[in-house]
Amino acid sequence: MIEIQNLSKIYNTKNGVVKGVDDVTLSIQKGEIYGIVGYSGAGKSSLLRCINLLERPSTGHLTVDGTDLTSLKGEPLRLARLKIGMIFQHFYLISQKTVFENIAFALKAAKVPSKEITKRVESLLDMVGLSDKRDVYPSQLSGGQKQRVAIARALANNPKVLLCDEATSALDPTTTKSILNLLKKINEELDITVVLITHEMNVVKEICHRMAIMQDGRVIEEGAVYKIFSNPKTALAKEFIASVVSFDIPESIVRSCTGPIVKVTFRGKVAGEGVISDTLQQFNLKGNFLHCSIEYIQEMPLGIFVMELKGEKKEIQKALDYIEHRDAQVEVLRDGI
């Protein structure tokens, strides 16, 4: 649906040339929710804004639904934008228009006849659950409600793609969750490709199918969300994952352990098979759990256990071999003392 090839965006600032986006190549499939993660200044926002040409890429190619957008300007670009919805961190509704008028604004841009506008706006309001706020001004809405109006506006012209620029970053956790559920529903029911950028790994974990991690304008890691969560390659990916699934064990606890401390990771189905309990039963060992969690990513379990193993050295080695044999990944965090 979206093909980005060797895209770069260069800014000329007072302090010289800055590469906002540096040679990014990405392919986003139809119907998926794609997350782009990075710290502020990583270039994710610039990249997203290049997709609907709010910023024109300096070099590289960009096609959305088969159309080469970089070749367009003026009226053809405007018409192409009708098929790419966008929502923002700060909503950006027109404060002097009612909820109804804000959504109707997008339909007017597409020259929809006014009779149909009323019907369409009402069905959009119904979809985002704000039918009772039809004639209210944005100042009377909460953050989550404003974002729902913005979503309705973005979807007004049945776009193929929805771009979300930090759409939940200004919202509290409960509201974030409800907005994410709405985005998920839109993706599933309307088959709209969603591209979202965020610095919150939690958002990606909740709803994204695939993701990219950006640093200094480059994509440094890319792939299925589950794969990156279960097997992160770069230090930055690990850092982001740690922000959601943390395995920090207090130093005093680590010091009080005598046996080796191991981290066992189970991916997919194995997580539910009770490998650890089998191991502890089969070998003459004692396991002392320091940390354990099972995360569900895209409804697939990812189990991570950190434990101290107490017993004969040989017995421990045999146990670790056994666990690996059962398709789990073992990492010795600290050898026994």
Binding site: N52, A106, R153, L163
Partner: protein, 223 residues
């Protein structure tokens, strides 16, 4: 010599005429300032860097002209524009003639106020409209003018009050008006009665306009 009530009553017809002349001049000038100054203010804004019709040349030329007119003291502008006034209204004296110069002074003044009001709009709202596929005309009409509505109304109030001040000088070309009355009778002839009366009228007029302007600006604002 203080305020002489009998003298004041005697002068009521004169004050009445002057008051109507003031209203006449500032109404004409305000309408022209809004009709011409509003588009100029919008142009000044949208031709700026990073906006919907970025255009260095238009921005610079327009900005230069606006600044030039604004830097000429009004009394000089009034005299300098006599040929223009003659060409437009076929006379160089009276309130209609004075209205031409008043309008020319008010247009750039109001244009800059409009530009400033537009700058107050969050750029994100304009960007969201662009992303929604809005036409440039929709952006001007439904985003810029609507979002800056309250600021523009305050600008109209400000322009109106400045025009009252400027119109005092209209006497130079026989324009008349309250200010002219205050200067010619009150100041030059040491007629304190008329001085006090006219100044009081001006104070009340300005207060009423300001309060009314603030009220309207507040009522239309949905923020």
């Amino acid at each position: 010599m203080g305020f002489d009530f009998a003298h004041f009553v005697e002068l009521i017809p004169d004050i009445n005429t002057a008051f109507l002349q003031t209203i006449y001049m500032i109404t004409i000038s305000l309408v022209i300032a809004v009709v011409i100054g509003l588009p100029i203010g919008i142009l000044l804004y949208i031709t700026d860097k990073g906006l919907i019709w970025e255009n260095r040349l238009v921005q610079n030329v327009l900005g230069f002209v606006v600044n030039m007119v604004r830097s000429v003291p009004f009394i000089i502008l009034l005299v300098a524009l006599l040929p223009l006034t003659d060409a437009i209204v076929k006379t160089t004296i009276g309130p209609t003639a004075a209205s031409v110069s008043l309008s020319v002074a008010a247009i750039p003044f109001f244009a800059r106020i409009v530009e400033t009001a537009l700058r107050e709009i969050d750029k994100g709202v304009i960007e969201a409209a662009i992303a929604a596929g809005a036409t440039p005309w929709m952006i001007i009409k439904d985003v810029l003018l609507l979002e800056a509505k309250s600021g523009i109304i305050s600008g109209i109030t400000l322009t109106l009050i400045s025009l009252i001040g400027f119109s005092a000088m209209a006497g130079t070309v026989g324009g008349g008006g309250i200010g002219d009355l205050a200067i010619r009778f009150g100041y030059y002839r040491y007629d304190n009665t008329i001085m006090i009366a006219t100044v009081l009228i001006l104070i009340i007029l300005v207060q009423v306009i300001q309060i009314l302007g603030d009220f309207i600006a507040k009522v239309v604002d949905k923020r």
